[in-house]
């Protein structure tokens, strides 16, 4: 299925076949527009709530605030002992390190599986695919004990180091699929010219694989940015909190009094993901269409 859908996802959109008459077409658009509004209404309402005067937030279901007031952003930003700037910075550091780790480690493994011949390759490949089926709950507690013994709890290491060990097998699989599509003649020609495996990987595979590397990088970033469970168990000190933990703390400590601040910080926390979505929509959608990846 994967190869077939991959080609279709990159193919140009089909020409209208005229299966729908003008009336049918209007009905379809009406249904789609209504559904679209329903889908994004909650998001727009949240953004609108974040710029409303405090007493007006729950007063209406309308999206238009009577006055625009950004004070919620200031109150929210400094609403906890540690400012949200710190949480954003922590999330950014973890996400960037995760992206680097995933791209480097997964592409190395994927190159070995896709291109190199060695005893046991098929065996390890099957094992790698098998690890994708294992729910993380099985390894969760011993991993926690391990990182606790190493003294890594309350540092970013438990969240980042596994990525440098290619723990997201999904990206390996994605890259293997892509690498296999690169013509073998290129490697063979390079080998004739005396290139070793490293140089072929570095000079041929990686430059030709930028689309798949970018897809993996973008998904890595978004998933890490949104991750709540990992930081929840590994980060205890508020100075090391990520944006998701910061928001949760804000809910617990002051939400009953400061809805505006809560919605303001919630909105801000979505901004990076939203921009990635805006700029890399095509890569994200192709990534989903070709592999069904989801988290």
């Amino acid at each position: 299925m994967t190869d077939a859908t991959m080609s279709s996802a990159t193919a140009p959109p089909p020409v209208p076949t005229g299966r729908r008459g003008p009336v049918g077409s209007i009905l379809v658009h009406a249904a789609l527009i209504a559904a679209s509004i329903a889908m994004i209404y909650p998001l727009l309402w949240m953004i609108s709530a974040s710029v409303r005067p405090e007493d007006e937030i729950f007063a209406s279901t309308s999206l238009w605030p009577s006055a625009v007031d950004f004070s919620s952003y200031v109150r929210g930003w400094f609403g906890l002992d540690v400012s949200f700037g710190r949480f954003f910075w922590n999330s950014l550091v973890i996400a960037v390190l995760t992206v680097v780790g995933n791209v480097v480690a997964c592409s190395l493994a994927a190159y070995a599986f896709a291109r190199l011949r060695f005893a046991g390759r098929n065996f390890w490949f099957a094992i790698m695919l098998g690890t994708m089926m294992i729910p993380y709950h099985v390894t969760l507690i011993p991993q926690y004990v391990l990182f606790l013994d190493l003294g890594w709890v309350n540092t970013f290491l438990p969240l980042v180091v596994p990525k440098f060990l290619a723990s997201d097998a999904f990206f390996i699989f994605l890259m293997v699929q892509f690498f296999r599509g690169i013509p073998r003649e290129l490697d063979e020609a390079a080998m004739m010219d005396g290139c070793g495996a490293w140089r072929i990987y570095w000079k041929i595979m990686l430059p030709l694989s930028l689309p798949v590397l970018a897809t993996a990088a973008i998904f890595s970033f978004i998933w890490t940015w949104d991750d709540f469970f990992g930081p929840l168990i590994y980060l205890n000190d508020m100075n090391s909190y990520t944006i998701q933990l910061g928001l949760r703390t804000f809910v617990d400590s002051s939400s009953t009094s400061d809805w505006g601040g809560l919605f303001a910080m919630s909105t801000l926390s979505l901004v990076p993901v939203f921009f990635f979505f805006l700029f890399f929509q095509r890569l994200l959608i192709e990534g989903i269409a070709t592999t069904g990846m989801k988290r």
Partner: protein, 318 residues
């Protein structure tokens, strides 16, 4: 690498045994070494972060372990307690199954419906697709769970909207009969990624099949029932399995919306939330390990069942 191979061959043909052995090693290295060098990070991760911990977790599930004292072997006592004497486990399984059974079919139905509306030349396809996919991308974050908590609060937006139609909504989150719906709606709202997979699947169906059917006078509904649906069954199956496994593993929305408690009266106590409470709230690491293995068993049984029944309704054309 080629150079290493040459010297290996040269040395290997030598008379004395020691260089011959070295030659063999060098030859093995030349043939297989590079592969293992590239695989090294993953291999370390596999043994250190997956296989090792999985074995340790199985061992811990037969122990009493609170992180401070050494694990104490208690045989199958954890499993016995799970099976017979743990009402919270029973509640968690019930809530999780309810969530799976309610959210997955609705989500897939919406995904398929919208994918069919978007298929075959709707103007503005990319804009619609983007709007429908956006919630899937944002949905896992705490911000969205927080938003949902407000939308479904007693005086929240949903009830304000219902009031405009003269309906008095319940206090969704604080009533045990309704609280699960808040989570179901949140999950269904994120139908974007199965929708994109459906769209890719629909594009695989050749247009001439519809043209031929249309010439034969088949109605639109009949075409859907006789062509689209059967040809789409592999994609439906894939989406159903992925979404179900995902639903079994859901955590963040239940945690945020119930404030970590799984309440009211355990009505949002997702399995993973209960596991988290046992492990990191009560520090019953052995018991939580047993819970984790039961979850694997449940997901494994479900997946095996899906694959076994799939042969009766999933059509592969080759």
């Amino acid at each position: 690498m080629a150079a290493v191979q040459d010297t290996a061959v040269a040395v290997g043909t030598g008379a004395s045994s020691r260089p011959a052995a070295q030659g063999r090693l060098a030859r093995i290295w030349a043939r297989h070494g590079a592969g293992y060098m590239f695989l090294l990070p993953w291999l370390i991760g596999f043994f250190g972060l997956t296989l090792g911990p999985a074995i340790a977790s199985l061992y811990l599930s037969f122990t009493n372990f609170d992180l401070i004292r050494a694990p104490e072997w208690i045989g199958t006592a954890n499993y016995a307690r799970i099976a017979t004497a743990d009402p919270k486990f029973a509640a968690a399984v019930k809530v999780t199954f309810l969530y799976v059974v309610l959210s997955v079919p609705f989500k897939l139905a919406f995904a398929l419906l919208v994918a069919i509306l978007l298929d075959r030349g709707v103007r503005g396809l990319t804009v619609y697709r983007a709007i429908f996919y956006l919630p899937s991308l944002l949905g896992g974050s705490v911000a969205i769970a927080v938003l949902w908590r407000q939308l479904f609060a007693g005086d929240g937006l949903i009830n304000s909207l219902l009031a405009q139609f003269g309906i008095e909504g319940p206090s969704w989150i604080s009533h045990p009969d309704y609280s699960i719906w808040t989570l179901v709606v949140l999950s269904v709202w994120q139908f974007g990624s199965p929708m994109i997979i459906f769209l890719a699947g629909l594009r695989q169906i050749p247009t001439d099949m519809y043209e031929a059917a249309s010439l034969d006078g088949a109605s639109r509904f009949r075409q859907f029932y006789k062509i689209t649906l059967p040809l789409l069954t592999p994609v439906i199956f894939f989406n159903a399995v992925v979404q179900t496994i995902d639903a079994f593993k859901a955590f963040t929305p239940a945690f945020i919306i119930s404030g970590g408690t799984g309440g009211p009266i355990n009505s949002t106590l997702f399995y993973t939330l209960y596991l988290y409470q046992e492990a990191f709230g009560n520090f019953r690491m052995g018991y939580a390990s047993a819970l984790a293995w039961i979850l694997v068993l449940i997901i494994g049984l479900f997946t095996a069942f899906s694959f076994l029944t799939s042969r009766y309704w999933v059509h592969y054309d080759d």
